[in-house]
């Protein structure tokens, strides 16, 4: 029997064409957007620009303090969020039974990821500064030290913001370790903790790292919650204090001070600077630095996840 030849489907051909065009239109916009920032920003970038502090009412100089502040805040944020997130994910996946209660926790964690970031800012102000900070000041008799916007509270707030990201990706990583591996470990007489430590965690490590890196990149790019939590327009000094043990002093991040932040710096320069057109090159330069920073982090996360999936494919 001869197969009936199909008529050429013009409408379908056109629709598929539109779908293709849509995608390449998006890629084009992405390239244009990044290309513009790259071309305008690359002229400004130099070692001086990266390490110097702003001069002459922000119209000259670099973004050194803003980069320092970003690194300091995200470092503290990771310190708060990652252990808490990973440990609670281990609890949820390995220890907690699948009860109504644990399902509620999972649902609220998923929902927390969708809460607007500015709401986290409100939470940081209400809880960390006005509740914990003010009470700490009262208890420790430190005057007004903790009860005001500061680096510590900004990173604590960002930590709560990225906590769901860390928990969800750790859960996913733990969940994808096959049950047979756990059973084999128990069969050899290992205890629960030995199984988690020696069998589950090593396999889940790339997945956990992916979540951590994504959290860092989210924190470094987030601006809204720190608007009123201690980010400063311009600070002459870095938020650093000497920590002295006897005669031996080492400079440490001072968590009770205000700080400059790269993302906030871009916002302020673009909207509230005295002379926005004059500082435009610096704005492009800062934006390029922020984009490169987040892209490097995101690309690392993507590579980690790719390797994690390949590892799972082999199992």
């Amino acid at each position: 029997m001869e197969l009936k030849k199909r008529k050429i489907d013009f409408a379908g051909f056109l629709s598929l064409g539109i779908v293709r065009l849509t995608f390449f239109f998006l890629v084009l916009i992405l390239i244009l957007l990044l290309g513009k920032i790259f071309i305008e920003g690359i002229n400004v970038i130099s070692l001086e620009f990266l390490f110097d502090e702003p001069r002459n009412n922000m119209t000259e100089g670099g973004i050194g303090p803003a980069i320092f502040g970003t690194v300091a805040v995200t470092l503290l944020m990771v310190l708060f969020a990652v252990p808490l997130g990973v440990f609670s994910a281990i609890y949820l996946n390995e220890y907690a039974k699948d009860t109504f209660f644990s399902r509620i926790i999972r649902t609220s964690i998923n929902n927390l990821a969708g809460v607007p970031s500015i709401v986290f800012g409100l939470f940081g102000l209400g809880f960390f500064i006005l509740f914990i900070g003010k009470n700490l000041d009262d208890v420790l008799q430190t005057g007004l030290l903790f009860g005001q916007p500061a680096l510590l509270w900004a990173s604590a707030t960002l930590a709560v913001l990225v906590l769901p990201i860390v928990i969800v990706s750790t859960l996913e990583a733990l969940n994808s370790v096959p049950k047979s591996h756990r059973d084999a470990s128990y069969g050899l007489g290992a205890t629960k903790w030995q199984t988690i430590k020696n069998v589950v965690l090593p396999q889940a490590r790339p997945g956990i790292l992916t979540g951590t890196i994504l959290a860092i990149s989210r924190g470094a790019g987030e601006t809204a919650p720190i608007l009123f939590l201690g980010a400063a327009f311009f600070l002459p000094n870095l938020p650093v204090a000497d920590l002295c043990i006897g005669d031996y002093c080492i400079p440490m991040i001072n968590p009770t001070e205000q700080f400059m932040y790269l993302a906030y710096h871009i916002f302020i320069m673009a909207t509230q600077s005295a002379n926005p057109t004059k500082t435009l090159p610096i704005q492009y330069g800062s934006t390029l630095v922020l984009i490169v920073l987040t892209f490097l982090l995101n690309i690392t996360a993507i590579i980690f996840r790719y390797r994690f999936r390949k590892l799972l494919g082999r199992l």
């Binding site: 609890y91 607007p116 690309i299």
Partner: protein, 325 residues
């Protein structure tokens, strides 16, 4: 042999390793440690709800619920005039949320429509049309697009996009709801695209093959079989995108013009709920009516996005159950 008996025998045999008291204590201590961490994470989640609502509802002690909608005030000739204005710092403060709500939806709706058209298209391309090898490279690109900090998008819309649309459309205000919604759609398109791709990808291949077997073309298969089957997943992605558009702060703060206009004209400046909190929280005096009313806006924002996310999650969960053939 009874199961219980078997395990008892196994435990009593000379091969069974007895777990010592010391090990058992260590194990339970470790479990306790993880449980404490899990509880702490939960406490933070609960605290966010509690603090937001505690501070926000204090606003209702001073400002009536009705005042958040409108204010009746007599004008010069003694007629009662009903005003919908957000003017919390004036002599006679007005706290109507209506202009802020309108501003929020006037930026979020167009952004969601634009993003749905482009994002679903891109999702279809990624899942059904693109060469699988090429896709390995394209999907991370979408993720990179999603990873661009919103302040960067706000910045580029402010310095490039606003001028471009100003020359093109000649709007009444240079910074307006339209410019902001274009900026917002940069944020939502990757979300809708990648979730649509997930939803389409989870449709079993048998359906595609059955459709081809009946002589359908590629586009007929996509439009008549795959898209209807994945409808719930795609609509959940649009809901999530809409929720993100409502909650996004930096882009609307930088590009929407920040004037609390009561308008349906997309080319006028508007002020969204998020931008109001962001712009005014820094300067407000703590404990004032204005301060609490900003927390009240936070409650409204939280509630809207919470329900959008919840509905989307329910839809996605249902779809997962349905698709496990």
């Amino acid at each position: 042999m009874e199961e219980k008996e078997f395990f008892q025998k196994a435990a009593d045999s000379k091969y069974a390793k007895k777990i010592g008291k010391h090990t058992r204590l260590k194990e339970s201590l470790i479990k306790f440690f993880f449980a404490v961490n899990g509880t702490m994470a939960l406490i933070f989640i609960v605290l966010i709800f509690v603090f937001l609502f505690k501070e926000g509802f204090k606003a209702l002690d001073h400002i009536g619920l009705l005042d958040f909608l409108y204010l009746d005030r007599p004008d010069a000739s003694g007629n009662i005039e009903r005003v919908f204005q957000w003017y919390p710092t004036s002599e006679e403060p007005r706290y109507s949320l209506i202009p802020l709500l309108i501003g929020t939806f006037l930026t979020a709706f167009p952004a969601t429509i634009i993003s749905t058209l482009l994002g679903v298209g891109a999702g279809i391309y990624l899942s059904e049309v693109a060469n699988p090898k090429f896709k390995e490279f394209l999907k991370p690109m979408i993720e990179l697009f999603a990873g661009i900090p919103t302040v960067v998008l706000g910045f580029i819309m402010l310095v490039v996009g606003a001028s471009f649309f100003n020359d093109l459309l000649n709007p009444a205000n240079r910074l307006n709801a339209f410019v902001a919604s274009i900026g917002l759609s940069f944020v939502i398109i990757p979300i809708i695209a990648s979730l649509t791709e997930d939803a389409l990808h989870s449709i079993p291949n048998d359906l595609r093959m059955a459709s081809y077997g009946l002589g359908a073309t590629k586009w007929q298969t996509i439009s008549k079989v795959i898209l209807p089957a994945a409808f719930s997943g795609v609509s959940a992605s649009i809901l999530l995108g809409f929720g993100r558009a409502i909650g996004e702060t930096m882009i609307v703060l930088m590009c929407a013009g920040n004037a609390a206009n009561l308008t349906s004209n997309i080319f006028l400046s508007v002020r969204t709920m998020t931008a109001t909190i962001a712009a005014e929280m820094g300067e407000v005096s703590q404990g004032s009516d204005h301060y609490y009313s900003l927390f009240f806006i936070g409650i409204v924002l939280f509630t809207i996005t919470f329900f959008l996310n919840l509905i989307a999650e329910i839809i996605i969960n249902k779809m997962r159950k349905k698709n496990t053939f």
